[in-house]
Symmetry: C2
Subunit: 905 residues, 2 copies
């Protein structure tokens, strides 16, 4: 029989820390802490497999499980010295979710299970604290009715009319009536009344009574945890994070301990190091006389854990170190043992019940990119981990955070902040304010820069938090949901900014008496927690010396070359500073547009609209000096490094002038009428330009166009050679389908090569190769390699053709394809290994079979995508090429790919 | 050492009829006739390999060849009893081209080689016929100066200023001056003067003297034959016929015999059966006292070969049978022996020199489709060939001819012909008249129906003949160049129509005093040779019982099923009559357009322009009755046979109404403004519609669209079942890339299926499958086959994606790709086996691996292309599907593919 329930407690456990898949992260780590003799309330974990079984059985538990749970509960009772449902001294338990991969706040927890009419008197007599007992009962009723009894999946996230909201409102009414500010002011009498009123309302609204029997509560709680795996929030989160739907959650049933049993009780959350900046300081927050949810929910502003990590906001509050020095010492010792045991930063939850410390959870802590780099480097220095582990520890998205912009100090120094909050997610962010997740998503879809402003965030906001550029909340601490999620995604975030007052109905916020409306610009300094009411300038943060050190460490393991896609000296220089080893894609047409353009667009238009070879050759000869200059400029910056020039692949019709003025100018230049210009433009119209007269096809129909480009590249090279430089040009032919296209162009190329060599009296070395971006080219790569000295996979177009997805038009259906789970990932972001990857494999193998020395790379946008880089390593490429800002990501991804796929692990 | 020269003559030969590749068709058959002891003038053949060598050496002969030629010439002299260059009794020879595959009139021939100052007197004394000798000399000079001395490749076909034209003009001037009508009236004195004048003009114009030495003439002739392989005409012809450029031509050097040595001499061309209608009657034409070129060139109207085959035009002329009964008997005997030797109809050339018969050529005769079918059936009946051979003998294009239209008899009976000529190519043709090949091509490019009218055709007209729909010439016989080429291509053609007088300069023709201008409509009955001066109606000729018999014979061998692409009852019925075994592609959107449309386009537009699910469902419910009716109509016609319904794959933007009136109508119907209609239309615009929101993507985004279609198909099926019919619907999902698309649609389909079954109380059987038309679908076919019960390869789109060629835009470069030999064939006509074929193979194998019972077919236009059908057989498909008119072609191609690839040969 499959073992479905794993016990833990006392100083032993049936499971251990390696069993995340079966027990979830929480269950596995609780078991591990038991074996480390740390104080863990006893309990047991029902496996993730049971969750899957539960859904297969249509929402029922497997038959034999009941006995297992009852047996495990008996063992728990024995360790804790209490009995579940005992009228005299009842054991209370919690049901907690726990997936393989942490999904903070996305699934359900039910606390205080076992409190009912028959056990309340016993607990009161045992604790001598009726207020505490009724407060616990109040919490159970609220949580249970919401999580277990309400059909959670029927409630839309923005609906807000569920039972939970109704009970909240009832409690608020009493508080208002009595003039209470905080829940703690509610008296025993208030609570007794409230519990009665709650139970009546539940029967009315949900049509069933709140269960008054401990086991009924327990089974309801376990079912609710499982069900929450398929709740709206959890599904959204999994889709964003790429967590498979079929993993399921475990359910841990654990004895309750209470942080709210008076002023010698407390609860807290801590990180073994600072999760925001990586400092090796024990960092955390705690609340006296509170349950854990109070800290995480951000309802009360928590106290600092110790003196060393106090900040501006909490420097006047008492630390645990001062308030309970013995307990703090015990906790600090556990922190140290956990770090040296797990070799990584730990995120822990603890409760102090009447002076006794209990560990409720430990897990690998989420951290900012900055913190991740610092911790990785520090832990190597401390001898805690080796360099390979350090390289593997940083996720590419964490590295990307480091490259995120910060507010430009010169711009920031002239501005006065309107408020300060907690620096929950570092970096800078400038955007328009929106007050609901929905509004934020809609605005982001319009490509607006969005800052989501919330009184406090809850898990329902997850999609809005994903869509926004920055996050600002009025309440909550550094370990609140908002802070946790924002850091996980590398968002700039400020939380607990109490000066901010949100009026959700009016869609405004008020700060120091000034109203700000939806759509107003603000700026956030997430590193310092400062808010400004204007759009400041931003700048990049890549000059961080830790970043540079970490990248050098990556390069020790990396096997793939990393080049960049750049078409001008500025981008080339930027990429060099990020560690690019060459240019893998220089698009010749790019010199004609954009901010860097020196070459006149008009002359390219003239060439494109030429009607005769004579006109075209004239236009080409006018273009040539600009092409030479542009090629020289970039090759100069890239001295000693190869520069791959892709010959013209312009979307012809886009170059037809639309403005009358431009049309007139061009007509004058060509000596024809404006009407003729329009006619020639219309003749260039294509039904499917992506599959029309492009790339090498242009050079086949009009060889003179290729001729000019080859000549210009060789001339630029010759000029640089004369200056004593070391240019390394590569000529790349795009959109090919057959080796005969390459041969046809090569003849032209060889002729120009010989002519320029003769003219300058120099020897010009160059490589000649092709993009592989059409399925036929991949399928016939063995033939292509007869002429090509290198291949560069153009995975953007290859994906378009392989899927029949026009990148420009895919918006009309891509969301449906993701939502309906037809595709797991956007193939334009990550190479689809099953199809595009298969063609690449055929291409690489075919090419290398013909020419074992063939150099193979990738220059589609996938070159900067970590999963795709891993594929490139596996398929045996020589290099990847990506945009300058992705170069560090590619270097990290390549290092990790080498480690992952090498013989090292 | 490679043998380069193969001798023949007397009763033996070094080569034989199987050596076409090496000796060309002509050389191989001459050798074969020698071994059959038929009277062939002795000579030798220089192999095709030498031609290739010649070009590799830059237009030089291989070193050792000279000796081989001289030796072979000595052997020839021995057989013929004359010596080449002998002043007393000189042997004259001809140099003739001969490729593996017949290219009639496309390459060069030089006759009378060996005539020069030193040999003329000897020949005169030997023949006692000075006029004959000088006429032969005149011919040699004209031909040699044109073919050998002129740089043929420098002359544009339409140029008309070459040496040949100048000499022709000089001769015409003498004839005009002396009032001669025919060349034969030129006297010895005229000819002597003409030869002198010719030689002077040649020296002037070409800058070199006409060679006065036999061997110089010989080598010049051989070189000219080789060079003509790469002449403009030959290249054009090869490209049209698909003959590889690297085959090369052989050169046969053969002793001259003369049909122009007086009235006991003659020359002729004959077919062992009638090449136009296939009758088993010896059929041919001859001219007394003439050289062969006179017959072929169509300059004189020739006499009938025998009494049995006289026609309206030549019934008063003397036949060879009457004029030279002994020679005719000998020729008839040879005809019979050749047919029983070759088991096929023979095309022969002969010359009678002073009463002695000489065979100059035999080859498999070209024939019309009609003749080909009749001959194949007759020869099976005669026991000459078996059925397999009969099936293999008909080319698909010949079968296609049979399907070509004829003039509608009811229309023709009311019209009076303006002229009658020879029925050179059967069928009917109606079009506008054009007088030059160039004008014909231009008009055909404008999609006009063109009838090319020429005084006589010459090989320069080849492109115009290809482009035209019908051909009319004033001169020439049934074996003239025009007739031969027209028949080969299945063109309707009338030749030798002497009532027609063409004025090329004015671009008019005059018939019985009436002028007709370029662009006027005429009609041709190519079966009877009748010309009408109006546009008559046409009808199809497929009811021919021979055609039906032949198709039944094909079906004995065929393994592939043949279905049709049809979307309405009329096309379905047509296809059934052509032998279709089901419908492989019923495009649901087609019911909304075209002549057969019953369903209102407006309602489809409404659906496409719906903005909300509600609007869309309303529009769909209005469409549904039409869809049901349309599906019922076609399934009724196809009772017992499967009908594959492809769900909607409309090009959305094409359905946006452009006319204000239609926009207003639709706006009213949708209750919105015209401006809104335009906006919604604009929102449907796609950059690359071919890769946009199409096919199954529509059903993923708007499941209600699929829902309606599934329901309609099942409802139509249920209605027919109630009528006692046997509908066999198949549902085909287009543009798929992933099995999950199929699964998603299948759920909807199953639901509708169950609902309709329940509503009608019937059991509905159906198959569910997919098009494989996107590379990813082919690559993941193993997964697709988990859900699909059948695959149908959509090779149109698969070719587009695999090549990255938009079919709508490929015109901008496809010609360059063909001309520059980057592609050998248009991949939209014939499946590119190296790429698209590879994907199909992966698809078929993958699909069958998952589901060995998977049914696999093709429904792209390649389904009617013989080479592609052969591929489908090889790759293991179950059926092909093509347009109704291609069904017979597909049946024949499938039979031939089965024979070709089976164990039978």
């Amino acid at each position: 029989m499959t073992k479905r329930v794993y016990r833990f407690g006392g100083t032993s456990a049936e499971g251990n820390g390696t069993m995340r898949e079966l027990l979830g992260g929480k269950g596995a780590n609780l078991a591990e802490m038991c074996t480390l003799k740390m104080p863990v309330p006893a309990g047991f974990t029902i496996t993730t497999e049971v969750c899957t079984e539960y859904f297969k059985l249509g929402g029922k538990f497997p038959d034999t499980m009941k006995k297992e749970v009852e047996d495990a509960l008996k063992a728990t009772e024995k360790v804790m010295g209490k009995k579940f449902g005992d009228p005299k001294d009842p054991l209370l338990v919690s049901c907690r979710s726990g997936a393989r991969s942490s999904m903070p706040g996305m699934m359900e927890t039910v606390l205080n299970i076992g409190l009912c009419t028959s056990t309340i008197p016993g607990l009161i007599s045992k604790t001598q604290n009726p207020r505490f007992v009724y407060d616990a009962y109040r919490r159970l009723i609220m949580m249970y009715s919401d999580v277990v009894m309400e059909k959670a999946e029927n409630i839309e996230p923005e609906d807000g009319k569920g039972i939970r909201q109704q009970l909240d409102q009832m409690m608020q009414e009493i508080k208002d009536k009595k003039g209470y500010k905080s829940d703690t002011e509610l008296t025993e009498e208030d609570l007794v009344k409230l519990c009665d009123a709650f139970k009546k309302r539940i029967s009315q609204v949900l049509g069933e009574d709140f269960p008054d029997e401990p086991y009924a509560q327990l089974w309801g709680g376990i079912g609710a945890v499982f069900k929450s795996w398929n709740g709206h929030r959890a599904i959204s989160y999994r889709h964003i994070e790429g967590i498979p739907d079929n993993w399921g959650t475990a359910c841990t049933v654990m004895s309750m301990v209470f942080g709210n049993m008076g002023n010698n009780s407390a609860t807290g959350v801590a990180f073994s190091r600072n999760p925001a900046n990586g400092d090796n300081k024990f960092y955390g927050e705690w609340l006296i006389n509170a349950q854990g949810e109070d800290v995480v929910a951000g309802i009360r502003t928590p106290n600092p854990l110790n003196e060393a990590t106090k900040n501006e906001r909490n420097k006047h509050m008492v630390s645990l170190e001062k308030a309970m020095p013995e307990v703090y010492k015990q906790l600090y010792d556990i922190r140290t043992r956990l770090e040296s045991h797990y070799h990584d930063m730990q995120d822990i939850e603890f409760t102090i019940q009447e002076g006794k410390l209990w560990m409720l959870q430990c897990r690998i802590g989420k951290r900012t990119g900055l913190a991740a780099v610092k911790m990785a480097l520090d832990m190597v220095k401390e001898g805690m981990i080796d360099e390979e582990t350090a390289v593997m520890r940083l996720s590419p998205s964490q590295l990307e955070e480091l490259l995120h912009p910060v507010l430009d100090p010169s711009s920031e120094s002239t501005a006065v902040p309107i408020a300060q909050g907690l620096p929950a997610g570092p970096g800078g962010s400038v955007g328009k304010i929106y007050f609901t997740a929905h509004d934020a998503c809609v605005a982001a879809d319009r490509n607006e820069k969005v800052i989501l402003v919330r009184e406090e965030t809850n898990p329902e906001d997850v999609e809005g938090m994903r869509a926004c550029d920055g996050l600002l909340t009025a309440r909550g601490g550094m370990t609140s949901h908002a802070a946790l999620v924002a850091r996980g995604w590398g968002k700039c975030a400020i939380v607990g900014c109490e000066a901010v007052h949100v009026n959700l109905a009016a869609k405004t916020m008020t700060v120091n008496g000034i109203d700000y409306h939806q759509g107003d610009w603000i700026s956030l300094n997430g590193t310092k927690g400062l808010v400004y009411d204007s759009a400041l300038k931003t700048m990049d943060a890549s000059e961080n010396p830790m970043f540079k050190k970490f990248m050098r460490m990556c390069d020790k393991f990396r096997k793939l070359g990393v080049r960049t896609n750049a078409d001008n000296p500025e981008d080339a220089a930027k990429a060099l500073s990020f560690g690019a080893e060459g240019i893998g894609l220089f698009r010749l047409e790019h010199m004609f547009y954009g901010a860097h353009s020196e070459a006149p667009l008009g002359k390219l238009r003239k060439m494109i609209l030429s009607n005769t070879e004579k006109e075209r050759i004239e236009a080409l000869s006018e273009l040539e000096p600009y092409v030479i200059k542009s090629c020289m400029g970039t090759m100069k910056v890239m001295d000693h490094k190869c520069v791959t020039f892709r010959i013209l692949d312009p979307p012809l019709h886009e170059f037809v002038p639309q403005l009358l003025e431009k049309q007139k100018e061009l007509a004058r230049d060509l000596g024809i009428t404006v009407e003729d210009i329009r006619k020639r433009g219309a003749a260039l119209h294509e039904v499917n330009p992506m599959m029309g007269l492009r790339g090498v096809r242009l050079g086949v129909v009009y060889p003179e166009i290729s001729e000019m480009q080859f000549r210009a590249i060789f001339t630029a090279t010759a000029e640089l050679l004369k200056e004593g430089l070391h240019p390394k040009p590569e000529i790349m032919i795009p959109v090919t389908i057959d080796v005969r296209e390459l041969d046809f162009q090569k003849k032209i190329c060889d002729k120009e090569h010989a002519a320029v060599e003769k003219k300058y009296g120099v020897q010009i070395k160059y490589e000649y190769g092709t993009m592989i971006e059409i399925p036929r080219a991949a399928l016939l790569a063995d033939e292509m390699a007869r002429t090509a000295q290198f291949f560069s996979f153009g995975t953007n177009d290859l994906t378009q053709m392989t899927f029949g997805f026009s990148r420009d038009d895919v918006g009309a259906f891509m969301n449906d394809y993701m939502d309906k789970k037809i595709l797991e990932a956007d193939p334009f972001q990550t190479i689809d290994e099953k199809s595009v990857g298969k063609l690449i494999e055929v291409g690489v193998k075919g090419g290398r079979k013909t020419n074992p020395k063939l150099s193979v790379g990738i220059c589609g946008e996938h070159g900067g995508d970590p999963a795709s880089v891993d594929f490139c390593q596996r398929v045996g490429m020589d290099y990847v090429s990506c945009s300058p800002f992705r170069v560090p990501i590619a270097r990290l991804a390549a290092a990790q790919a080498a480690i992952r796929n090498g013989n090292r692990f």
